[in-house]
Symmetry: C3
């Protein structure tokens, strides 16, 4: 996929451009509007532990942001859903190895049962273009 321009050319238009990436029937992988990126990531390595699943999901976030010309230091807000609270330390270990200190997002972590029993983590972010 080509990197599409995100900048809003005409701020007086009522309808700002909405950019959708990998827009499937049920959901889009990424949506961009008004210089803001919306994304929810789930791990691809379903047999892995919480540390590896978190690292995998964060790497997907990196790749997605790079496609948009953004980067992890521009993430504004993260909501982390953990299937098991016991995985908090493992998730944090992957997070701490990844996050840009001093440029970390606001973060909220709660335990919630996820839709695939193999998912140990699901990460929702809002980022700046």
């Amino acid at each position: 996929m080509a990197v599409l321009p995100i900048a809003i050319e005409n701020n007086e238009e009522k309808f700002m451009t909405i950019l959708r990436i990998d827009a499937e029937a049920r959901w889009s992988d990424v949506v961009v509007h008004n210089q803001t990126i919306y994304y929810t990531g789930v791990p691809e390595n379903l047999d892995a532990d919480a540390f590896e699943q978190t690292a995998n999901t964060l790497a997907q976030i990196d790749a997605m942001l790079e496609r948009l010309g953004s980067e992890k230091s521009r993430i504004l807000d993260a909501t982390i859903f953990l299937a098991s609270k016991e995985d908090f330390a493992a998730m944090n270990k992957a997070w701490d190895a990844w996050v840009v200190a001093g440029h970390a997002p606001v973060r909220c972590t709660v335990q919630a049962t996820l839709m695939k029993p193999e998912y140990k983590v699901e990460i929702k972010i809002i980022a700046a273009v």
Copy 2:
């Protein structure tokens, strides 16, 4: 309620207009700021099953967006809280019949106990004006 203008006239003002619709004491039904719509919907048909409750909530989203001159193809992000994971298929059935393929939002679904025992689903969205 009259449809109020949403467009921001003067972008240099520090304080952009905030539009609140059906602003009750405890919460507002809808809030609009900076061309972005915030909304959380719960079903009105409390005796219905998860399919019907989801369809009802999505129809409320449609009506709300229409009042604002927006539409479901302009939803950016959805967070779906399901009281029971067993209702994932029923929720998806209502969702798939409703969503605009190719213009779907980012979506995140987790299981969470909701505040009324009759609620089977609660849907939080962020949309573009």
Copy 3:
């Protein structure tokens, strides 16, 4: 900390300023971008009941917004995670005493296990500068 200017001077720049307050290694306390404030609050009074913990968290929100030149009447969206659904009434009592009637945000409340067993509530908000 000095109150930093938030207004975006040059809307044509691709990279809008991101303001991070109390940016620690793992997360930032507050992030501001595109006239929008992101924040998640947890109570400091860990031994207190849900009413007191909610009031404490809401008071932290007030203080944070004041630092940014904003105020509680400019909150757009709130997501409240309650460790126990039984605390819904106690949380609402603190909320109702605090919220500005007619200027309340959209609100979504769900039950979720939180990362510290002492936390009875965690509140995530999006606000306008």
